[in-house]
């Protein structure tokens, strides 16, 4: 399969795929993983090929059923053109019209962005995964079918057919929306924004979105409270159970407050943390209580679930969830909302929704990073940094660091509490995405997990190994501090795939756990290496 492609390949008719990532061409990993026998990408079954659109790269993230007739294909093409026009409309797309048009109209096609993209580099430089491949196709479709600039001389030569529509839909989910490409661009052209606009077109006009992000994501969150399916009474029960369990294991009384009207602070965790990383939620409770704060969680749906997958694909769902979060805070009468350790919650609620939450709904919103820093350095809690006697590196969640510029608070904590803290290269606002960004960490359809781990997460895994290169063996404990649920989920999959805990002694967790682990009052180690 070729990795050198032409833009017009996107409209090649038939069911053939354009390319296929090759495990032998992927960016090499450091030892001992350079010898890792990669099982490769799962081959689709005959049944899957029969039912699902798989005409891009042999990877299926979206499980789009094949249309049953030419009429159905035609309908989707017409809807796509209608969506293109709406993206250019002041009424329908005021939310991102100016950034979109600037990015469509002033790209110099210099390919500087490609060199900044971890997916393109990790894939072995497959053209399909260039930030510009997707954007340039979309730009040409906009020019030809929405602006009616049909000149081939201007390069507007992409045919719009079913294959173009279906491939572009799948291709929109081969990007982490991390915006490293935008950061590298001398013109500040934002290919991640264009990718998100493509996703938005499909969602808001055709009603197409990954099941994990929409049906089991934002729609479920608005219906029952959380994409995890946790309903208010269940979430309270779960946390109460965790309170009891951790009270026993830590030897201190832990009580998480719920629905306290007039509390100073509403903390909104990701409910996924309750299920997958419960120590993160309990660490917050321990710290807030120890610092004597007036705070609460909300059990009103979706006030206990900070995620907002709308950020990844749909302005309407984004706005709905952000508004509900603000309404719940308003009802409780809190003075501020504190984000949990969730990157996209930070970005969605702190900045992107800032211009949606008008009037009284614009309640101050604080990052978990500054909130925890204030607690750590308040002098209200005693710490013994020697308790964190293991190597620690910090992953910078793109949505907190590159997108919000919150870089130093978490580092000041780690420098104080973790004697063996070391940085990755590059780090801070120049970091690489974990590979789970843009909603990909929760998408696990068909064989997509293989792609997420082997390609999207490859650069980050390489960075982690390099950060710990001086002490590679499993006998030395190593902790990746990733203050974001989605990043932790992605890391967990990467570490499991490579057996990195057994081979290199690497585990992943959040920031609050490290802080609690260093508390003098917590007698037993809070971080568990065995589980």
């Amino acid at each position: 399969m070729p990795k050198r492609l032409n833009l017009t390949d996107i409209s090649k008719t038939g069911e053939g795929q354009l390319t296929e990532p090759d495990v032998n061409e992927l960016m090499p990993l450091p030892p001992p993983y350079d010898k890792f026998k990669e099982p490769g990408f799962k081959i689709l079954t005959e049944d899957q090929r029969e039912r699902l659109v798989s005409n891009l790269d042999g990877i299926v993230a979206l499980a789009l059923p094949k249309p049953k007739s030419k009429e159905e294909e035609k309908k989707y093409i017409e809807q796509f053109v209608s969506g293109l026009k709406k993206l250019l409309s002041r009424e329908d797309n005021w939310t991102f019209l100016q950034p979109l048009l600037l990015s469509l109209d002033y790209c110099a096609r210099c390919q500087t962005c490609s060199e900044a993209c971890h997916i393109y580099l990790a894939s072995g430089r497959n053209d399909l995964y260039r930030p510009t491949f997707r954007s340039e196709i979309f730009r040409r479709l906009v020019n030809r079918y929405a602006r009616h600039k049909g000149s081939r001389f201007g390069g507007n030569d992409i045919e719009l057919n079913w294959e173009t529509v279906s491939r572009l839909y799948e291709l929109a989910y081969r990007c982490n929306l991390c915006r490293r490409c935008a950061q590298a661009c001398p013109m500040s052209i934002d290919n991640a924004l264009i990718t998100r606009e493509i996703r938005k077109l499909f969602s808001q006009e055709l009603g197409w979105a990954p099941r994990e992000l929409h049906e089991k994501g934002t729609a479920l969150q608005l219906e029952v409270g959380s994409p995890t399916g946790l309903r208010p009474d269940v979430v309270r029960d779960n946390v109460q159970f965790l309170d009891e369990e951790f009270s026993e294991s830590t030897g201190i009384k832990i009580t998480t407050p719920w629905d306290r009207k007039g509390a100073d602070i509403l903390v909104i965790h990701s409910a996924g943390d309750i299920l997958s990383f419960p120590e993160s939620v309990i660490a917050f409770t321990i710290l807030c209580n120890a610092a004597g704060l007036s705070w609460t969680l909300s059990s009103e749906a979706p006030g206990y679930e900070g995620v907002n997958y709308g950020l990844f694909y749909d302005d309407i769902q984004l706005a709905r969830i952000a508004t509900r979060h603000a309404q719940i805070a308003q009802k409780l009468g809190v003075n501020k909302i504190v984000m949990g350790e969730c990157g996209h919650e930070h970005k969605a609620l702190m900045t992107v929704a800032d211009r949606l939450l008008t009037g009284d709904l614009n309640i101050p919103r604080e990052s978990a990073m500054t909130f925890l820093e204030e607690i750590v350095f308040s002098g209200k809690i005693k710490f013994d940094p020697a308790k964190n006697n293991f190597s620690v590196t910090l992953h910078d969640p793109c949505n907190i660091v590159r997108n919000l510029g919150i870089v130093e608070p978490q580092r000041r904590i780690l420098r104080y509490l973790c004697p063996e803290f070391r940085e990755m290269t590059p780090h801070g606002v120049d970091n690489y995405c974990c590979g789970g960004g843009g909603g990909l960490s929760v998408m696990n359809n068909v064989n997509f997990t293989d792609w997420k781990v082997l390609i999207a997460g490859r650069m980050k895994f390489k960075q982690v190994l390099e950060a710990f290169a001086d002490r590679p063996g499993p006998e030395v404990k190593k902790y990746i501090c990733a203050p974001c649920l989605n990043c932790k989920l992605q890391f967990r999959e990467i570490l499991e795939h490579y057996g990195a805990k057994e081979k290199s002694g690497i585990i992943v967790g959040g920031l609050a756990e490290l802080i609690v682990n260093a508390m003098v009052d917590i007698k037993k180690p809070f971080i568990k290496w065995e589980s």
Binding site: L5, Q79, S82, K86, S89, R90, E91, D92, W94, T95, L97, Q98, P99, L101, L102, Y106, R109, C110, Q111, T112, E136, F153, G154, G155, A182, Q183, C185, P186, S188, D190, Q204, E205, L206, G207, H214, E215, A219, E223, I316, Q317, A319, R320, T323, K336, V352, D354, R355, L356, T358, G359, N362, T370, F371, E374, R402, G405, I406, V407, E408, V429
Partner: protein, 304 residues
């Protein structure tokens, strides 16, 4: 070619350039306020700009006065414009070609301005002989610009044609732009090589242009250079080469736009939220206003 046709051609080209450029800029300015989409590093963050930090790093940031640097964004932009910092940092193999082309353009613009300055000085009654050094400098800068620009344009054409990283993304229009630039610079070299005192000829032409002298004339090689340059000026605002202006908006209106909602913006946002959103998906609340859609009837939100 001689006579007032030169004034007509030159001022028409400038007029077209200005009208189209202003129209396109005005179109950008008139676009509605958008949701925040900033990206670190933001240079106006005083001190924090060293590492890309923002005001959101402050505990209860809304109580902390924001400390803004007005100089840092200018320095950032100057480094970007004159040193091509982004390309240097992220795409070094392209940097020499890009720098050559851009320096060619900058020097070209500088020599045009120097010729105008020469014309105004002469019109003010200063004898031409007193401006010999000025003329020598203008000639040297013009030649340097032509040479670097021609090298940059030709090498970029070759790179786009021969390098498989660029070829699929390069349209005929892009070759046309680079070809026009190359022709402009090469014709400048030819004009310089055929005219003994080059800056006197170009400066004299500028003076005749500004004084609307009907006897204005240019030697054939210079005439060809001027016509190609005028063609380029007319063509430029229709293309993405207008990025030398619109870059201001991609940076200031989007990438560095971290402006919180104020009273005026609040009113703009309320007006936008009252407009109907016409998206057709079942969950998108067809026909309802943004505010109604978002405020959320549960049945809309549950549609998938």
């Amino acid at each position: 070619m001689s006579g007032t046709i030169w004034q007509v051609l030159t001022f028409s080209a400038i007029f077209v350039f200005l009208v189209i450029a202003v129209y396109r800029v005005f179109t950008i300015i008139r676009m509605p306020v958008h949701l925040r989409w900033e990206l670190a590093p933001i240079p106006h963050e005083k001190e924090k700009n060293r590492y890309g930090g923002s005001y959101l790093e402050e505990y209860e940031w809304w109580r902390t006065p924001r400390r803004r640097s007005h100089i840092a964004p200018i320095i950032y932009m100057l480094r970007e414009i004159f040193l091509m910092r982004g390309v240097w940092k992220n795409n070094r193999p392209l940097w020499p070609f890009s720098v050559l082309l851009h320096f060619g353009v900058y020097l070209f613009v500088i020599t045009v301005l120097l010729n105008m300055a020469y014309a105004l000085t002469i019109m003010a009654g200063v004898p031409a002989a007193a401006l010999d050094i000025f003329q020598d400098i203008t000639t040297a800068l013009a030649l340097a610009g032509y040479l670097t620009g021609a090298l940059g344009a030709i090498s970029l054409i070759l790179k786009r044609r021969l390098d498989s990283n660029y070829r699929p993304f390069t349209t005929p229009t892009m070759y046309l732009k680079l070809g026009l630039l190359a022709a402009m610079f090469i014709s400048g070299i030819l004009a310089w090589s055929t005219i003994p005192v080059y800056a006197s000829a170009t400066g004299g032409f500028a003076k005749d242009l500004l004084t609307l002298d009907g006897g204005i004339r240019a030697a054939p090689a210079l005439a060809a250079h001027i016509i190609i340059s005028l063609l380029f000026i007319v063509y430029l605002p229709f293309t993405d080469m207008l990025h030398f202006i619109t870059k201001y908006f991609t940076y200031h209106a989007v990438r560095w736009n971290d402006k919180p909602v104020d009273k005026k913006m609040n009113e703009q946002l309320r007006a936008l939220l009252d407009k109907p959103a016409g998206w057709a998906a079942p969950h998108a609340g067809q026909g309802k206003s943004w505010a109604e859609t978002v405020a959320g009837k549960k049945d809309d939100a549950e549609k998938t």
